[in-house]
Symmetry: C2
Subunit: 331 residues, 2 copies
């Protein structure tokens, strides 16, 4: 099963996912394309995935039958598994089993559609599945941190073309959310309010990086966007936990999230992209300090040696210009 | 000129490199390849680059003439420039001019060769250029941190095919080296010796992840390798600063570095790769705590939404298996 190994210097965890591991010689670059495969995420191929953990279907159909609208299944090559959490220490080196969970949320049955082309009510179903599965996992003993993501398109890391999200449950708090929680808590201690609420009011006042605003949500390009066209979607009012989202808010989020993806789709010609959802970790108490947000990043450049060596990002668009371009793109 | 913007939550800096910035619509995905270009790094095209800052040439030839063996030039689209360091504060948002330097080290005149196929003495010349330019920049007022890297191959982020390195001089200490320096100093304070020296002795004792050992250097796959086949090269004895390397050590480093690249070249069929060199920052005083090292990472997988959202890496090879594979590959 997969393993977590701790970097002895930085104390950061890396996942060594043996279950996904090819043999070393499988990496040898070869000519010729891969042969076409049967898609395990389509109607009729339900037996190709592990048994579902959630599905939306009309009526009284049995699990793992066709005619679902959303289907959630364990990842066949999981990065985290709920099996055990043994720890091993060897001198400087600490490792532990990668205790947790890893699921796939299939966005719908139609292979040729994606969240930019599905209707809004289908996007809302996906978000509803996020909420349900988040609420399930957050109470499990392995849940220290839950990361929901989308990889859309091969060059954004999608190994299957059929539109889907992934939900990872990790037994440790990873480096980036830890840094955000730390920074947000520090700001709160000094200023008595949420830094993300402050960012939102400053973005609305400056009005240079706003892409779209609805009654309850804001889509904007962050001041220090890491990569070209990075766009955040945040609730306008203070909301520490994504999983507390109401049904009405889900409809509205589906609308602005779908619009943002359509701006990418229309403006940048269906680019590959990554999405990640940051929210307060399970059991995280000082909920005044954090504020959930989604980040959507089209995959347009290749982070390379500088980014690997420094952890510092280079954005070759100006965030204000990127926001203007997206505002003018058809939603 | 390029700008540094600070993320208001994590306090990490991002470079917004306007000089490299295409207009937003240049990102729109189009069909068809790019037209062939003239390579600015070949003999006779010296006028296509900014004037050289260093070159190795036999005899008394003038600057920017052909017949060089190594040539260093400012990057034409710099991420950092030595112009000014104005700071701007706007509410929560802090930005400053990206004061610093950004150079290209051209590995040799032959377009079809790379560090894996050049002879060892040419690799040594490249390392000698690293040392000379490092020593030049470390005394400049903008030098808070110097990052030397290689991007080899298009999918590893190389925008020009002709084999070259890049040297970045930043006016801030980036996140990852800061975390390493912090972790190494903490270990030193608790244990009274360098953590990297300890890692080296443990790797030699375990002898599972060693790729090659010479009198003064070790090539090994780290215990918590971030990505498949990540390989480190470190001096066996305590060496905080790369720029203090002796001429003899340069020859030996060129040998083991070239061997490592040839193991990649032969074993993995000339994969794209990134290299970065970590060394004590200019003026960094507690030099007992840090230990310079090179990391070489073939670009075989695509870090995606999980890595972007968490800062946590997934390695789908087992480090011990990767080391065995590389040991058995022809150097």
């Amino acid at each position: 099963m997969p393993e977590l190994r701790q970097d002895p210097v930085t104390k950061r965890w890396v996942v060594v996912a043996k279950e996904r591991a090819k043999r070393p010689d499988d990496f040898v670059k070869r000519d010729g394309g891969s042969s076409p495969r049967v898609c395990p995420f389509e109607y009729g191929n339900e037996s190709m995935t592990p048994p579902e953990t959630l599905a939306f279907r009309p009526g009284e159909l049995p699990p793992d039958s066709p005619d679902w609208t959303i289907r959630v299944v364990p990842n066949k090559f999981p990065v985290f598994t709920p099996e055990n959490h043994d720890e091993t220490i060897n001198g400087l080196y600490l490792s532990r089993k990668a205790y947790g969970a890893h699921e796939v949320i299939i966005h719908g049955p139609q292979h040729e559609l994606s969240l930019a082309t599905y209707p809004t009510h289908q996007v809302a179903e996906v978000l509803r599945a996020y909420k349900l599965r988040y609420n399930y996992h957050k109470n499990q003993p392995y849940a220290r941190y839950i990361q929901i993501i989308i990889n859309h398109g091969k060059s954004a890391g999608a190994s299957l073309e059929h539109s889907h999200s992934q939900l990872f449950v990790a037994p440790v708090l990873p480096e980036l959310p830890a840094a955000q929680l730390h920074g947000a808590a520090e700001y709160y201690n000094e200023n008595g309010h949420c830094i993300y609420c402050k960012i939102i009011s400053q973005e609305l006042a400056i009005n240079e990086r706003v892409v779209e605003k609805t009654d309850n949500f804001l889509a904007f390009v962050p001041f220090a966007a890491k990569l070209p066209f990075e766009t955040w979607i945040v609730p306008l009012r203070h909301r520490p936990k994504f999983e507390d989202i109401s049904n009405d808010e889900i409809e509205e989020l589906a609308f602005i999230f779908g619009n943002t993806l359509r701006r990418f789709y229309n403006g940048l010609n269906d680019p590959p992209y990554n999405m990640y959802l940051h929210t307060s970790p399970p059991g995280y108490d000082p909920t005044d300090t954090y504020h959930w947000h989604m980040s959507i990043i089209p995959k347009l450049t290749i982070p390379a040696g500088f980014e690997l060596g420094t952890g510092m990002w280079i954005d070759i668009t100006i965030p204000e210009a990127a926001a203007k371009f997206l505002r003018n793109a058809a939603p």
